[in-house]
């Protein structure tokens, strides 16, 4: 009796342990299709007998699945050539870098950014702001101009520093492993954008009706219509892939990086002296080609006619002192009072109008946050472009609710170096509502005045005080408490 109780007890414990261990196999990871792609009805491509979703087929052929990735030579990706490295035998296989990047991505990034880089991993719904969806090919924090893709160096900066104020942590300790992760993120972004662009291409060929479920099925369409589709599809595939390859190649070109303009061209400048060329000049942010590179003498505060090496008159340059240009007192390294004053003037001006979003007090609560905004053409909800969002306030290109930065907090998501902030003021923030002022403020010192104003705000809010420069810009009157006025 006693013996059998002992026996059954032991067996029960063992069975319990086995049950706790379980024997379930985790499902195979797969790339998720975008909602728009799922809407496409199957088409017979070329001489194929069976109808397939053309976008899904193209994605599968050119990018594969997470477990069997396809390395497409067309794209500017470093897939990892096989190396003879005794210290790293795993590098012997072709495409090792992409595979290694995938493994690291699956370990460190996937729970927020998702298997297909759609920013919809399991933890994503708990996060505010939402993790980035790479599929639009848009990245907010980068050094490149406008809509140009981020350079590898930009992605590395984000990985190394994390993004303060968001849930993106720093991965600086991964060191050598960052490079493969960067390549894999680029791969996912290319794949995602390829998908969206193909959808738009197919929309162009077939029109909207045939895409909707229950519409006419091209698989059963007459022969001429199919031939027409096949031609158009072939062109689309080629166009989209070459466009993408070019876009990502441009991202790493040194010309794509925003650098402060070295001197300002003034149309009405007078020639004061005979120019003796020395040193190089950049014009309006664009670097001139080598044969048109100009030279000038470093004499401050004077106007100089600028000539190219071919002796061709290009314009006039106002060569300012460093202090006049960047608004920084060279003795203290701090912004000058004049610069802060001008920064404030621009902040509250109608032309630049920072206050409209960032608020009269710099707290990110400007009047724009009270408006209803429209869905844009580039957003994932582009089918609803032109309609208004249901929620008050700004939205970014990913359709997430967007709060203008509170400038008092001193938290800079895109980096806190003066050059980082300069780039934001110069080119805006891609994907967000922040515009660039490189064209409206042609004088570089204006941009620096704004940078100085913004970087001083967290530490000294008294610089906000004073009469407003433009009488049409007035903060709303303080709400009157009816009980108090009684």
């Amino acid at each position: 009796m006693n013996r059998s109780r002992q026996f059954f007890g032991t067996v029960a414990v063992l069975v319990g342990v086995a049950l706790c261990g379980g024997c379930a196999k985790s499902p195979e990871p797969k790339f998720v299709l975008a909602k728009s792609t799922e809407e496409i009805v199957p088409v017979r491509i070329g001489d194929e007998k069976t109808a397939v979703n053309p976008v899904e087929a193209a994605l599968h052929e050119n990018f594969g699945t997470p477990n069997s990735l396809v390395a497409w030579e067309l794209f500017p990706l470093d897939y990892g050539k096989a190396e003879d490295d005794l210290d790293h035998p795993e590098r012997g296989t072709e495409g090792w870098k992409l595979l290694h990047g995938r493994n690291l991505y699956m370990q460190h990034c996937v729970h927020c950014h998702g298997t297909s880089g759609d920013g919809a991993g399991p933890t994503a719904k708990f996060l505010n702001p939402r993790p980035r969806d790479y599929r639009l090919g848009k990245f907010k924090f980068k050094s490149t101009a406008g809509a140009i893709r981020p350079s590898r160096e930009d992605l590395r900066t984000t990985l190394e520093h994390g993004i303060p104020g968001t849930s993106m942590p720093s991965f600086v300790l991964l060191k050598d492993d960052l490079e493969p992760i960067i390549e894999y993120v680029r791969f996912l972004s290319m794949r995602g954008e390829y998908e969206f662009r193909l959808y738009k291409g197919i929309q162009g060929i077939l029109g909207r009706k045939v895409l909707a479920k229950g519409g006419s099925v091209p698989a059963e369409a007459p022969e001429e219509a199919r031939a027409e589709f096949n031609d158009g599809w072939k062109d689309t595939l080629e166009q989209v892939s070459t466009d993408l390859a070019e876009a990502w190649t441009t991202a790493d070109a040194p010309e794509s990086i925003i650098n402060p303009r070295e001197a300002t061209i003034l149309d009405d400048a007078k020639v004061l002296a005979d120019p003796k060329p020395r040193g190089s000049v950049k014009f309006s942010g664009e670097t001139l080609p080598a044969d048109r590179r100009v030279k000038l003498d470093h004499k401050e505060g004077q106007y100089w006619a600028v000539k190219s090496l071919k002796d061709e008159e290009l314009g006039f340059v106002h060569h300012e002192s460093l202090e006049a240009r960047t608004g920084i007192d060279p003795k203290t390294g701090k912004p000058t009072e004049k610069s802060l004053k001008r920064g404030r003037e621009l902040y509250y001006s109608q032309a630049v109008a920072c206050f409209k979003c960032h608020g009269y007090g710099g707290r990110g609560d400007g009047p724009s946050t009270e408006d209803f905004w429209e869905v844009g053409n580039d957003s994932p909800l582009f089918q609803y472009a032109g309609q208004k969002y249901e929620v008050r306030g700004l939205h970014d290109d990913w359709d997430n609710h967007l709060e203008p930065r509170n400038l008092i907090r001193g938290v800079y998501r895109g980096g806190r170096r003066p050059i980082d902030l300069y780039r934001k003021v110069f080119a805006g923030i891609n994907g967000a509502k922040m515009p660039g002022f490189s064209t409206s403020l042609t004088n570089d010192s204006d941009l620096w005045d704004l940078v100085n104003f913004v970087t001083t705000l967290p530490y000294d809010q008294s610089i906000l005080q004073g009469p407003l420069p433009d009488p049409s810009v007035q903060p709303p009157a303080a709400p009157v408490n009816p009980q108090a006025s009684n």
């Binding site: 002992q6 933890t123 300790l173 960047t326 003066p418 967290p458």
Partner: protein, 299 residues
């Protein structure tokens, strides 16, 4: 699984089986568990299941001494209790035909086993009080390092954000325009006591330097000074030792202890990098010319 583990498992099973067959299952069970516990503890260091090497800070050495002292006391007690337990199980187990006797207990014995552990506990609490005070009491910290905290470390889900004062300046409680920022990468001068100000941005975290035996909870809303002295030059791990959320496992940083001159250079480089405005001869250059190293008075 190593062959040794298989042999040990089979051996244990054989001991239990033999115990069960000779009606000595429980003495065999408790004897085996005691032997296994002591055996595992003796073998643990060779499997790297022990402390991560010797302590690399003076405070760590003292904490290790306390740890080993308590370990010895508990080991002796543990073995003594098991000897008594197993002896009692064998000697007083039920025998056919012998009627069990009832005892109401022994007053003298009760007094002894209450006073002896109480005395041991009192001894431990008095013995460790000095180390505990020097670890926790801000007033006992080295005066120079107390007045010049090297950095502010802010724990956040799931990273360590570090703020240094500009070279030659003091760390202020409020952020200053010229403060320097890094993430997960804490640099300190080695061979001297340093103080960091520990904060948390969201939930409870714990600042843990395992090689230095320094562990301190970061509490939201509190600024907690932590003093430590790195007796090595190089890098060691900084981890979070308080389950702080789903990403707790990856909340790791690195402590780099370097010569004072190298540390100063590190800060100056950081400052130059952080004030980069992309303008030749701009802020970064101004910073470099200003930050000439000053001779500092050391206590």
């Amino acid at each position: 699984m190593s062959p040794w583990l298989i042999i040990l498992s089979l051996g244990s099973a054989a001991v239990l089986l033999a115990g069960a067959l000779t009606k000595k299952f429980w003495p065999a069970f408790f004897g085996l568990s005691a032997v296994a516990t002591v055996g595992i503890s003796v073998l643990a260091p060779s499997y790297r299941w022990w402390l991560p090497g010797g302590a690399q800070s003076p405070m760590g050495t003292e904490i290790d001494d306390l740890f080993y002292m308590i370990l010895i006391i508990t080991t002796v007690t543990y073995i003594a209790v098991h000897v008594v337990l197993i002896t009692a199980l064998i000697k007083f187990s039920g025998k056919p035909g012998v009627k069990a006797s009832f005892s109401h207990g022994s007053h003298a014995l009760e007094v002894v086993w209450t006073i002896v552990p109480a005395a041991i506990l009192l001894f431990i609490s008095l013995y460790q009080i000095d180390v505990w005070m020097r670890f926790r009491n801000f007033a006992t910290f080295n005066r120079h390092s107390r007045e010049n905290p090297v950095a502010e470390v802010t724990a956040r889900q799931f990273e360590w954000r570090i703020r240094y004062p500009a070279p030659g300046k003091k760390l202020m409680q409020k952020p200053q325009p010229d403060d320097l920022y890094t993430v997960n990468d804490l640099h300190v001068p080695f061979g001297e006591p340093v103080v960091i100000q520990l904060r948390s941005e969201d939930v409870l975290h714990s600042f843990f330097l395992p090689h230095l035996r320094i562990k301190q909870d970061a509490v939201p809303g509190a600024i907690i000074p932590v003093q430590f002295q790195a007796n090595f030059e190089g890098e060691q791990e900084l981890v979070c030792a308080e389950l702080c959320g789903w990403g707790h496992y990856k909340m790791r940083g690195q402590l780099t202890a370097q010569r004072k001159s190298e540390f100063d250079k590190y800060l100056r480089d950081l400052q130059a990098r952080q004030s980069d405005d992309g303008v030749s001869g701009g802020r970064a250059a101004a910073v470099v010319t200003q930050a000439t190293p000053k001779a500092e008075n050391h206590p």
